[in-house]
Symmetry: C2
Subunit: 355 residues, 2 copies
């Protein structure tokens, strides 16, 4: 059901996104050649790919609670994709990333353009400036997509408030992520809270926006909210595991990046907690080491595995997903069969995937 649903809705979301951006591009063309090029670059960035899981989850929540205007929900659903890409552009500046979905990150693209045309001034700063503005524009366009969707205004205002909340939690999560590496010791609880904000919030709010527009009951909203947060926490733990134990070709980035960047993943938190002093000190040394070698990544893996941190993380991810599915079944009235199957399989996929 998961595969079929993605195959069905992914092109529809893509089409809605493309149509929306085409209109924006036409307006930009009226302003100047530079605006036209700028919005074309934003469009290219957005259409580079991605499975569009968040918009599809929004539509499935809408359908799951009995919403009937499918096209309106698809048109609204692109808001979360715009928000997601907005935060990617700003995150890539903050994390100094160069690559995104097989192309340059947005700020890197403009930096390189500035260099290529040998414009006066600082290319790095030019790229950064246009990256800040690009993220700003996409977040705002997400609002626009939602505000112009054809729903009753009472529902729209509720949905827009959820969009606001999604972004606030997301940024609060990024702040926490920036702050955690500065603190002496990080606990599992803080990690799960960070994930709830940084990773889960947008997935949760996508689902809640869909359900709200579809006229969900409070019980349905509550069940979907718990489902989303718990399964997204499972998703993130699996992400941490793949990042350290996955295959480089599959994950598309160097194995061990999290260790190199000093990220406080659950694996690291748990390994630091369970390790003896020698291993703990060794792992601390490896954390944030910019020139981490392949052997040192292997060493970090061994510590994480031998301390039992890996199996602990695997178990926790499974428990979270199991609980997520239980919460989902508490919705009254129940979601439609199709939606229920979709969300259950999605949660299973979150922790079974290897990429």
């Amino acid at each position: 059901m998961l595969k079929e649903t993605i195959a069905l809705y992914s092109p529809k979301v893509e089409e809605a996104l493309e149509r929306f951006l085409r209109k924006e591009l036409a307006q930009a063309r009226e302003l100047s050649r530079f605006h036209e090029e700028y919005y074309a670059n934003l469009k290219e960035y957005l259409l580079r790919g991605g499975k569009r899981l968040r918009p599809i989850a929004l539509v499935m929540a809408y359908r799951g609670v009995g919403g009937s205007d499918e096209q309106a929900s698809i048109d609204a659903s692109i808001c979360v994709e715009l928000l997601h890409n907005s935060s990617l552009i700003h995150d890539d500046i903050i994390d100094r990333d160069e690559l995104r979905r097989g192309g340059p990150t947005f700020h890197a693209k403009y930096r390189d353009w500035h260099r290529a045309v040998k414009a006066s001034g600082d290319s790095e700063h030019f790229g950064l400036s246009l990256g800040i503005l690009g993220g700003d524009i996409l977040f705002n366009l997400g609002f626009k997509a939602l505000a112009y969707a054809r729903f009753d205004e009472k529902l729209l205002v509720k949905a827009l408030k959820l969009y606001v909340e999604a972004y606030q939690q997301l940024i609060d999560g990024v702040l926490l992520d920036t702050y955690l590496p500065l603190s002496e010791q990080v606990e599992e609880k803080e990690y799960l809270e960070m994930v709830r904000l940084k990773t889960a919030a947008l997935f949760e709010k996508a689902i809640l926006i869909g359900a709200t527009l579809g006229g969900a009951t409070d019980s349905q909203l509550k069940a979907l909210s718990s489902y989303a947060v718990l399964s997204a926490q499972g998703f993130q733990i699996q992400d941490d595991i793949i990042g350290l134990f996955g295959e480089e070709e599959e994950i598309g980035k160097p194995v061990g990046s999290d260790i190199r960047e000093g990220k406080m993943t659950l694996l690291v938190i748990k390994a630091l907690e369970l390790a003896d002093e020698t291993n703990r000190n060794r792992l601390r040394k490896l954390l944030g080491k910019a020139d981490l070698t392949r052997e040192e990544v292997e060493e970090a893996r061994n510590i994480v595995e031998s301390t039992g941190a890996l199996s602990y993380a695997r178990q926790l991810a499974q428990d979270l997903v199991k609980l997520a599915k239980e919460k989902l079944r508490e919705a009254e009235p129940s979601l439609t069969k199709h939606s229920m199957a979709f969300f259950e399989e999605l949660a299973d996929f979150f922790i079974e995937r290897t990429f």
Copy 2:
């Protein structure tokens, strides 16, 4: 009427802003010590001052078309102040400014904090990162303030669409401002278009949000829109004049900054157009010269004055404000007397001020 109105509403806006931020701060406190400090810094930044002209204009437009729930309009009005400050934080990063309203800019504050506590990593980048997030948060909070104001949802959705439009135009304006210095020759038309987007849009949308929430007629909206754009263009021209011919103590930044930064102000555009070849080449040399001396500023002034660019700009600003006031009087039904007097005096103030 202008002074009295500002004296009356400025503290009310301040109070609403303070109350709103206090609530956000209380929520941040639940998250972590770092979040608490971060939101406290945002609050301090916002409460550093400013005349709150945009929120007051919003309230006066609301009252001017017969809106009766004054407190609700004041609560809504802080949205434009939040948006304005959001864009200041991002602009200050882009313009590499260090000072804002007698304190450090937001990114500079965090950069200096990072340095002071000797945290690991790049202080410059840390400040930049937290500055990007700060601007993101404030824009989002502006949307929140408006979405939660107590108005009918039909009106709210209209107002929220105007908020979205304000931000999009503002960024389109910043993009144009970034782009103009790269182009060979800039015309008055392009300058006025840039000002319409970068300076006028937020003032215009503040007024339109107020009028919309107050139940304005189409004629009133049209009159207020024209008034706002024209008078804000007058404002910006006066700003350019003060920036080159004003007193350093009054304007709070070095005289001639625009020349030093290579900004395409109306004075520069017009002087380049009217000057003989010698003066034109000389002015081009001075534009964007980072180490511009006091004598060179004086030289630029002389070129701008002797070519007649200064008197041209003064006249254009006056014409724009005159037309703005005429447009205002076309509203049907007329605005209330109090509002009319406020907006007329405000437009006069825009071009009479010397700071």
